[in-house]
Symmetry: C2
């Protein structure tokens, strides 16, 4: 590492970049312990059915096969799931989607493993299946779980929406559909695990929630959480898809049967598609009205989210969608109702935007339609209705924290891309049409009420006089590790050579929740600030003892030393380190994110997470060009204005915005898990298209720096908000360009072309 001060507010390069680029950094995937066994799951291949027989005699007999395990080998409840534990580790009697694992094979190498899996014969009696949430709610629909197909039904009712519509000058009614999206992380689900002689299970795994994993595994397999150690190296992407158990329970089960040998499980891309969690497909019925003066007045919407075969975080994803269903606007009357429904599709789960992505599409398009009906500029209409601090949002919660959608919209309004849009549109080439579209979005931060959004951070002053930060939250690539080093460097005033960050390890680090929900840097950062401040006070105090100073004032922590400023005398950290006993060399800081003190009675049926009180905001502008001959949409320019409090690292901030917008553009233009009777038709990157760098324009990122006083150095999480705007902004731009109203994403060339052809 270069000798440089790590400070907050600077575009400090990612501290993990060099090790990652050189291959020195080891992801979970890079761990190949000696004497390895490979584990793999036999999948059902049937969307809904009863298991009659699993014949694995041939597989077991295959030389190089170590063990074949089925449901009867699972010692515990056999149930996993973050909130609702309804998903089997190995399906025993029933399969509910094609990816359900029915047997687990341990083999000496991958070739034998593949052969063994192909030799297992699973006889499944098919049951009637259902693949659409609204269908699944019908009384005669096939029953997927004992308790029926409804995972969650919730309502938000504020004011009197039904009556309020009669007071509206304009009303828009529209239905929107957003599909299932795949995370497509580079490093697919994987891990390696072994059982120590004392019975402890050790697992190196690509996970967003190492501390929670212990409890999931323990519950599923009837183990003590304390007897499980999870080590979580840097992740090669996750986006929510590694929040919750993927390989964990299967791997632990394998380790229990591996006689102490390490077992590796690594889902190939096709298995990742089949068994991994996805963004929920949603159908959204919207009705919204505004008064003649241009104020939003009433909103009614009905949301159907497809949970697939199991709950995972489906209820919570729907809830967050409902909380954001009214956009970042003042709406006096709201009536939002949502259903998250089991089907025999692949499992829905957490993904960047977490339910908000879908409703943002719907609501922002509704805003454009209302503005058009009112004859108002869509930006002015948004500005007029934009939430400000002190307002109640669509759930009735009073916004008491930083609320920056107005400055975002104002910054966008001043930007050359906004003022120059008409001119740009005029210079389209032959067979090209150009349009500009706008979206204003927000995204809650943190777990919300009902679950402590908490972190415990530990800083160790090493015997060599360096500082070791024990992170409890993984870095899945978003750059929080560097932010943590900057926070520690800022407070401890040390250069990179004196700072080291330990990635989560449940035995060395302290619990800090998951890397998710835009809360990673906010929550752990606050805990880290406390730990570092305590460490700083400790070192100044101990230096005062060494220098026989009679008070702590005037001491400053500097790179490698503590200085008594009045006298200019220094105490080297190396010296202090040798002096401090083990028991005195660590500081621990803890924090819990504040929650809403409003307890609105607007929400009904919510379980955890409602309501949120912290939000980040963004206003995006997309320039698109449509090829009239192919229907292909090209995003030519993109402006993203983001309000996330103060920025800890401008480079990391921009990278988060760029990544979120790119993922949003993909969701807008091409990404869709294509399903036929629960079968994925495009489980690979030849058929499932992702935007490449050529599909993504140079994204202009503008940060509106407000301050969130409760955040670490005033920051808020902004990893998700940027993913919510591209779909509506691009749809708006398309309508601006060619007058076509897109209500189903993705906006593929074929779809656009067929609509163009339908348009008179």
């Amino acid at each position: 590492m270069k000798k440089e001060l790590l400070e907050v507010g600077y575009a400090v390069p990612r501290q993990d970049a060099r090790a990652k680029v050189t291959g020195e950094e080891k992801y979970a995937l890079d761990h190949y312990p000696e004497n390895l066994l490979w584990a793999g799951a036999k999948r059902a291949g049937v969307a809904h059915g009863r298991i009659l027989e699993i014949d694995f005699a041939a597989a077991e007999a295959l030389p190089g096969v170590f063990a074949v395990l089925t449901r009867k080998d699972v010692p515990g409840t056999n149930r996993q799931g973050i909130v609702h534990k309804d998903q089997p580790v190995l399906a025993g009697e029933r399969v509910r989607h094609r990816g359900d694992p029915v047997a687990l094979v341990l083999a000496e190498n991958r070739e034998v493993l593949a052969q063994a899996l192909s030799l297992i014969r699973v006889e499944i009696e098919p049951l009637p299946a259902v693949f659409d949430p609204e269908e699944a709610l019908k009384p005669d629909a096939p029953r997927i779980h004992e308790r029926g197909n409804l995972l969650l039904h919730a309502k938000i009712e504020k004011g009197k929406a039904e009556e309020a519509f009669s007071e509206c000058a304009v009303v828009v009614v529209e239905t929107f559909e957003a599909p299932c999206q795949e995370h497509c992380f580079l490093e697919t689900e994987n891990g390696v695990a072994w059982q120590e002689p004392d019975g402890k299970i050790v697992m190196i795994v690509s996970t967003q929630a190492p501390f929670r994993d212990r409890f999931e595994i323990a519950h599923a397999l009837g183990l003590e959480a304390g007897s499980i150690r999870i080590i979580s190296p840097y992740l090669g992407g996750a986006f929510g898809g590694k929040d919750g158990a993927t390989v964990q329970c299967l791997l632990a089960l394998a380790a229990l049967h591996a006689q102490g040998r390490p077992v590796k499980m690594w889902w190939e891309r096709e298995e990742s598609f089949a068994a991994g969690y996805k963004r929920h497909a949603a159908r959204m019925y919207y009705r919204a009205g505004a008064r003649a003066d241009g104020t939003l007045h009433a909103l009614q919407c009905r949301l159907y989210y497809d949970s697939g075969a199991y709950a995972h975080l489906g209820g919570e994803v729907l809830e967050l969608g409902m909380e954001h269903a009214g956009g970042p606007y003042r709406i006096p009357h709201t009536d939002i109702e949502g259903w998250c429904v089991y089907t025999n599709n692949p499992i829905g789960g957490a993904m960047r935007g977490f339910g908000v992505c879908q409703v943002s599409f719907a609501f922002e398009r509704v805003m454009d339609l209302l503005a058009a009906k009112l004859g108002l500029d869509p930006l002015d209409f948004r500005l007029k209705n934009a939430l400000q601090r002190g307002d109640r949002n669509c759930t009735g919660v009073t916004l008491v924290h930083s609320t920056g959608i107005v400055p975002c919209l104002e910054a966008l309004k001043r930007h050359a891309l906004w003022t120059g849009r008409e001119k740009w549109k005029l210079s389209a080439g032959p067979f090209k049409k150009r349009g500009a579209g706008l979206a204003a979005v927000f995204n809650a931060m943190g777990y919300g009420r009902g679950l402590p959004d908490s972190a415990v951070a530990k800083v160790e002053f090493t015997p060599e006089g360096r500082f070791r930060i024990y992170s409890g939250v993984p870095d899945m690539g978003q750059g929080n590790a560097t932010a943590f080093l900057q926070i520690a460097g800022e407070i401890l005033c040390q250069d990179a050579s004196r700072l080291e960050l330990i990635q989560p390890d449940t035995e060395r680090c302290l619990p800090a929740g998951s890397s998710s929900a835009g809360r990673t840097t906010y929550t752990f950062g606050n805990a880290l600030i406390r730990a570092c401040r305590e460490m700083k006070a400790k070192l100044c105090h101990r230096a005062a003892l060494v220098l026989m100073a009679d008070e702590e004032r005037g001491f400053a922590l500097l790179p490698g030393k503590v200085r008594h400023l009045p006298s200019g005398r220094d105490v080297d950290l190396d010296f202090l380190a040798r002096l401090l006993p083990e028991a005195d060399r660590s500081s621990v800081g803890q924090t819990v994110m504040p929650v809403s003190q409003d307890v609105p009675d607007t929400g009904k049926g919510f379980i955890i997470g409602f309501p949120h009180v912290f939000f980040s905001y963004a206003a995006h502008l997309a320039y698109v060009e449509i090829d009239e001959l192919t229907g292909k949409i090209e995003v030519r320019e993109y402006l993203a204005v983001t309000e996330g409090g103060r920025v800890i690292n401008p480079q990391g901030f921009e990278q988060q915005v760029h990544g979120a917008v790119a993922q949003g553009i993909g969701y807008a233009l091409m990404e869709q898990v294509a399903l036929d009777q629960g079968q994925i038709l495009n489980p690979n990157f030849a058929d499932y298209l992702l935007p490449t760098s050529l599909d993504v324009p140079d994204i202009v990122s503008v940060s509106v720096e407000t301050v969130e006083p409760t955040g670490p150095f005033g920051m808020k999480g902004i990893g998700e908000v940027g993913a919510n705007a591209p779909v509506p902004a691009i749809a708006g731009a398309v309508e601006d360009a060619i007058g076509v109203r897109l209500t189903r994403s993705p906006f593929t060339g074929g779809r656009v072309l067929s609509m163009l052809e339908e348009t008179p």
Copy 2:
């Protein structure tokens, strides 16, 4: 232990009482490891001389003698001392007082040890010696140390004292003498030490400063401080006499030569008299003047403190005497000069009252004399001049902390013993005379400027769900251990069964300075409060995680559990304890006592400790009856009003006051280390008289509860202040009774009788 809540402000019984009374508690003295060797020192027996030869052949040859060590066996600097390192571990060329050790014997048992010591022949060429500090300052005095006989000469000059005397209506000039006093702790100096296979020296020793001891031993013997472990059990008394190395360096030296066997050293009473530290004898020349309106106006004094052969804390003791030389009064003009001087007497050191005891005698008598000359009531005269917050004291420091001498005097003035004194005096029996005397005193708290008065406290949440407090400051009997348990109990809301206090051990506890200077409970208590508050926050936070509460509000720590008050749900501490990993089970708190922000240029020649800014205050009233036939003084009633901020434990507070007054009465009436050419004439309790319970009246203790906001729960240290008043109060009472002015203590019957006979 009884199951009871330990809380601040209650007269909680000493938590160590039962174990001490039953003999279960082990003092250092009670440690008799297997395979013990006994160590003993051969003492010089000559006050000043040059060592010509030490012949220990006969001793060495004695069966059962393990080793005989002399100066040449000392590996390091051979120098010990807290501030000035001028005292040899084993004298090599020169002896400076009769108690200087010249050889160290290790033997299999005490009988052989005694015989071996008697067989050692030390040939010493006597040098001219000096035993009076003023004599020792003369140019032709025998030179005791290379740098001469002056240890410290310092001045305090505020205003223009010399000129101010001409503005005085009344002036008093008087000379006072106070003798050397012995600590007379029950448990004499002792310890046991051994060297571990890895070279580490482990020592269980009766000490007031375990953490500092390591550095003293390391310096003296050329060891690494980190290779020394000091364990300090409860002390059987100390009073300052175990502040600094007594047996420590000798024992460590012995351990280095004992081939891993434990070595015990235990000074018998006579050796404790000969080699231990004592209260400094002082001669004090006072001149003080007041204006006609009864305001103190000028003070001049010259103080000579006898340091004996070595420095120990002599300079600091003199300095504290000088800081208090003007009493707790406003005096615009002061001129205080002091000399601490080497002589060939036994070594002076720290003792309860630490230099203040002596000047209190002088100044309070001067106050009586001035009041008499002015025709004022001595109490009213004191009240008129008593310091209040915002005043500058006699050193020029502005008093910004609690300053309670006025409420003390007012409480005394209202008390029946004050209002009824004249009536009591009239009812003396035949050949008895009665008088009442008054003294107002104060005593600084803490190390003062120049040395950090600092503590680090650690609280551990044990795997069993109990709390272990690691004290860094010994309990020498004053009861701080109980105060610490109360502080922890108050904050953690736990009963005694859940709290455990670990006495200092440099390997288990963290550095917290010495048990001395009235700073023990103040400084460590503040650190402990921080550690406990952090622990409480930690447990509430972790309980919030367990209960999935979304915030920490509403959680309360209760005996054995954490309760979420809004829901009434509990988390047992036992359960939490099993959940918390080792790394998360401790809290550390640290503190540094505030120092004076005044930097008066009044003081010259001070090294460390000047000035102080915290003081405790007291006003005492003594009723004495004198037997006209024998001169014997009997203290019949005694009232002690004390201001020490808020009281943590009223019982402990009263015990401290009682003990201090009893020790003060002893110093007033009978205690004096009688010296003849440096030889102690009364080195035992047959000849050195201590007050017994029959010599001490029932002491009435009144607490004037102010608050010191910087103190733990508002407290200040009061262990010392009470020792300063008995001498002047009793002397005043004697003058009140029989008109005899006593200026030399102790006020023995013989001395009073001879003065009575001289009185016309």
